[in-house]
């Protein structure tokens, strides 16, 4: 069916012929007879990585195939979403090894983006926890790959934005938990210097990230709240929580029912939001035990929060800079602050070592920002790209909707090697997205 498709940023939107499958033979027949197709999960990547004139919705390909509850190994079809998995695994004492800030993504999407979480500095990206997976490649066969079997395909598929083929099955390791709660500590940092120092001081925590108020100048430039956490032990729970340590109390969700008019978002409202957010932490240091949901997925509680950016949509800009290049961070934040284009969400995180071919994370600082689409935004982001390049950083492909091809080729050191593997498994560009065409990764 011909549909208007856009991902989470609502930008860009295109017309696409979408097909869905429940069985592998149907899926393979379709792949065999079509070209320039791209697999699409729940549309939670922000940009154009899963957009193409021919798309395959993987959402019906969502069967959980096996769950080894003794060793914590889960085997699933690629279209199942993280929220469905959490409902199954958490009550049995297991957790996702790595999770991004939303649980409404598919496992296939998690692999194709090689997602990272608040624990990247400890546990790496999602790919580190995969035992094996199946990919339908351009040669129309299903290949099982892992770190040892078809390793080139494996590494080009992790973070490879669906360009090596269609991920159909993933087997991966889970993390053991004793409760469904997180012991959280929030720390107020007066400025950027302080938050960076705190990150270092608290790096032994499994989970960490910071919210930055990026409209501040002078002394309070980069003021922020660092949030760190650990899975809570049963003893740390309240008596009431202890009665069912692995089940969360039911909660209703808020829905943003329509796109807000764009004048709602301006420097003033963003400032007010950030002020409230910062000052709601009335003490310098706060400790509490909270359910895992608001800790990992604070925004999922507001379904369709993306509509808050109005009809024109928004672009999320996430970059990473090497650890020793924190001047770059200052330079970029300063530029944003000067322009007064701060976003509601500015999330800062420190990554650990990079462990793969084309994945986004590398050791350093990563900052994620939202910018509503408006006049002058694209040239402004091009200017930010210049700074990112100058400091040896790069941008996250899952959030990208506009980077110029030279930015990609200059900033990903393994781009050529990746392109060669894509060429090997997807020689006729059977799999292609608007993004892959823009970045010259497919012909």
């Amino acid at each position: 069916m011909q549909k208007r498709l856009a991902n989470w940023g609502n930008y860009p939107a295109i017309a696409s012929e979408e097909s869905a499958f429940t069985q592998e033979d149907q899926l393979r027949n379709f792949v065999g007879s079509h070209h320039r197709i791209i697999a699409r999960g729940n549309g939670r990547c922000y940009g154009d990585a899963s957009l193409s004139a021919q798309s395959i919705s993987m959402l019906k390909y969502d069967k959980v195939l096996a769950f080894d509850t003794t060793n914590g190994i889960l085997e699933v079809q690629a279209g199942v979403t993280l929220d469905q998995l959490l409902d199954i695994i958490v009550p049995q004492g297991w957790f996702l090894p790595v999770t991004p800030g939303t649980k409404y993504i598919t496992i296939g999407g998690a692999v194709a983006s090689d997602v990272h979480g608040k624990n990247h500095h400890v546990d790496g990206a999602f790919s580190r926890h995969i035992i094996e997976m199946d990919v339908i490649t351009g040669e129309d066969n299903t290949l099982c790959c892992s770190q040892t079997e078809h390793a080139d395909l494996f590494w080009a598929t992790c973070g490879g934005m669906g360009l090596t083929g269609i991920i159909t099955r993933v087997k991966f390791r889970l993390k053991k938990i004793a409760t469904a709660y997180i012991r959280q500590t929030q720390l107020k940092a007066r400025n950027l210097e302080e938050v960076i120092r705190l990150f270092d001081e608290y790096k032994h925590y499994t989970y960490s990230m910071a919210w930055i108020d990026c409209l501040q100048q002078g002394d309070t430039f980069g003021r922020s709240i660092l949030i760190v956490g650990e899975h809570a032990t049963p003893e740390e729970l309240s008596p009431r929580q202890q009665q069912a340590p692995l089940t969360l109390p039911a909660k209703r969700k808020l829905v943003v029912p329509f796109n807000l008019p764009s004048f709602v978002l301006n420097t003033f409202t963003v400032k007010a939001f950030n002020w409230l957010y910062y000052h709601k932490n009335y003490k310098r240091e706060m400790h509490k035990v909270i359910p895992y949901e608001p800790f990992f997925y604070p925004l999922d509680a507001i379904l369709h929060w993306n509509r808050g950016y109005g009809k024109a949509g928004f672009v999320q800009y996430q970059f990473v800079l090497p650890l020793e290049k924190k001047d770059g961070l200052v330079a970029i934040l300063q530029k944003i602050s000067e322009k007064g284009w701060g976003s509601f969400l500015a999330v800062l995180k420190v990554f650990g070592n990079q462990d793969d071919l084309i994945s986004f994370p590398m050791e350093g600082y990563t900052l994620a920002l939202d910018f509503p689409v408006r006049k002058g935004l694209l040239p402004f982001l091009d200017e930010l790209d210049e700074i990112v390049l100058q400091y040896g950083g790069r941008l996250y492909l899952s959030k990208d909707a506009r980077m110029k091809q030279e930015v990609f080729w200059k900033s990903y050191p393994n781009a050529q090697r990746f392109a060669d593997i894509v060429q090997q498994y997807n020689a006729d560009s059977k799999f292609a997205s608007i993004q892959s065409e823009r970045l010259l990764l497919t012909k």
């Binding site: 069916m1 429940t22 959980v64």
Partner: protein, 243 residues
């Protein structure tokens, strides 16, 4: 734990029904032509809901095998839902008997053949429930799909007769008229959103209908009235319409 026999377990609607009943702690017997193709669903139901699911080879068109198929079930189901159906291609069915034959025998003959076996078993034991997924297309023949519609009309009449016959034995028979459903069967069609149900909504309605022992179930209430209006249009006018 009650057991559900799902006839035609490969479709989107069947998957949703299987999940709904598994979530309500039914064991599920999945019957489909290609039993291997539904084994991911079998695994999924067991892992997600902690119930027992089994797969069984079943071909709606092979009527001769239906009695043996039911005999071979080691656990006899408490509830049987007949989901299978074949929309086919109206134009092709007008021109080639092969296509018309498949439409008629899948939607009508095959369903009658297997449900006769199930009904006799339930009548003998004086309990059980049968659900048939029919179609609003069976309520009045329209040029765009009257071969499919006529087979579903036959099926609807069969179910109402069966309900009448089994009432005294305490067996419940429910016919479901889902209207448009967003499934693989209809993915090439443009459907009006207000009148189109999601498979999950059909599954929930079927589950509630079974609980309340309903006779005829329209998944979206509008359909009852739409079909009433369509049925009331005089034939002289109806035949001139392009429906």
């Amino acid at each position: 734990m009650p057991t559900l026999l799902l006839l035609g377990a490969g479709s989107d609607m069947a998957i949703a029904i299987a999940r709904k009943f598994a979530a309500e702690k039914y064991n599920i017997q999945l019957a489909a032509r290609n039993a291997a193709a539904i084994s991911p669903l079998q695994q999924d139901l067991q892992v997600r809901y902690g119930i027992t699911a089994t797969t069984h080879a079943f071909d709606a068109l092979a009527s001769d095998s239906h009695a043996a198929f039911f005999d071979a079930l080691s656990v006899k189901p408490d509830l049987t839902i007949c989901v299978f159906g074949y929309l086919g291609d109206q134009e092709q069915a007008q021109n080639s008997w092969q296509e018309a034959h498949t439409i008629i025998h899948t939607n009508y003959t095959g369903a009658v053949s297997i449900l006769n076996v199930v009904a006799n078993h339930y009548a003998a034991q004086q309990k059980g429930s049968i659900v048939g997924i029919s179609s609003v297309a069976g309520e009045r023949g329209r040029q765009s799909n009257y071969i499919y519609g006529s087979a579903k009309a036959g099926f609807t009449a069969y179910l109402s007769g069966l309900r009448n016959r089994l009432f005294r034995s305490g067996v419940h028979v429910m016919s479901v008229q889902p209207g448009f459903v967003n499934t693989r069967m209809t993915q090439h069609l443009t459907l009006p959103p207000l009148l189109t149900a999601q498979p999950e909504a059909v599954a929930t309605a079927v589950y509630k209908g079974v609980q309340r022992k309903k006779n005829v179930l329209y998944v979206k209430w509008h359909w009852k009235y739409i079909m009433l209006i369509i049925k009331l249009i005089p034939e002289g006018i109806f035949k001139k319409l392009k429906l």
